[in-house]
Symmetry: C2
Subunit: 187 residues, 2 copies
């Protein structure tokens, strides 16, 4: 792992544990095992580091989704697989998910970074548009559909995070997807 990645990993870990304010560049450098000067060789400013971290986590998310998706015949199957995979990334990458929750609306993330990051997820928009056109999904504003999708994923992940009883994960993933599917399926 090169220095840049060491720094990004250390920053993610510290930001979610102690917040942006509580995490100085010195702490990040220390956690990464490099010097403060080296940090500023790789990142122009602290804000630059935050933005690059944001883009990096988003890209990790995208690659996970594309890597896990298998060919699937039906439209419903494709969407279910996407939903499941989103949930699993969020559960397996809690640091990344928390970082999004903390910083997605924050002023530290500039508009350019947001646009660059969201450009990676156009394949989701396309899937929904196709599904609406094919009358598999109800005919509503596609952006409302996408908001509903992500909202459902986030709500389920937050439910799992806050209810650490020994409940059957696969069973509840199925229940939650079926609930969401009823709200958007064209039947």
């Amino acid at each position: 792992m090169d220095s840049k990645d060491k720094i990004l990993n250390a920053a993610l870990k510290l930001f979610i544990r102690e917040g942006f304010h509580g995490t100085s560049t010195a702490k990040i450098a220390n956690e990464a095992g490099i010097s403060n000067g080296t940090l500023f060789h790789h990142f122009k400013t602290k804000e630059d580091l935050i933005n690059r971290l944001y883009i990096s986590v988003k890209e990790n998310y995208k690659n996970y989704l594309l890597g896990q998706m298998e060919p699937c015949e039906t439209t419903k199957g494709k969407i279910k697989q996407l939903w499941n995979t989103c949930v699993r990334w969020n559960l397996e990458n809690k640091d990344g998910a928390t970082f999004f929750a903390m910083f997605a609306n924050s002023p530290y993330i500039d508009k350019l970074s947001k646009e660059e990051a969201s450009r990676n997820f156009t394949f989701i928009s396309e899937l929904f548009q196709e599904s609406i056109d094919a009358e598999v999904l109800i005919s509503v504003n596609p952006n409302l559909m996408i908001s509903s999708f992500h909202g459902s994923v986030k709500a389920f992940v937050s439910f799992i995070a806050n209810n650490p009883e020994n409940l059957d994960l696969d069973e509840h993933i199925d229940i939650a997807f079926k609930m969401w599917w009823r709200s958007v399926a064209n039947i």
Copy 2:
């Protein structure tokens, strides 16, 4: 308006515009029109200020909900009214909603504040539990139902925020509620 409220208002405004890190106590005091010393007379530390602000916004949310709710015969009517009212608070109090999104998962908000704030919302839990018992809502884990409810509200609000075309708000509120209702109604 007394100094304490002036400080809380100024802090909310600055936190969402410039972030926690970018907002010094001096800036807050200046925006509030009082001195830095006075700020520390009312709030023990900056972290104390953040936590008190969090509780204050949550309380404002609760009072809005309780104030707007009118007596309603049917269970579905009650839930629809609650959903609508939640959406309207989030749309009318964008600063508060953004503050939640930014800080709800953050380390600045301590556990005691979270508990104190969530204790105000037990009436929502009770409504859902009753509705499940009455077989108006499907029989799932009540916490999953609550997560789904808040997730649906947040998803809709985020859709409205990101799609500022001149779409009919009331019409879309109806559409979005109907979508969510299909996912939880016991029919």
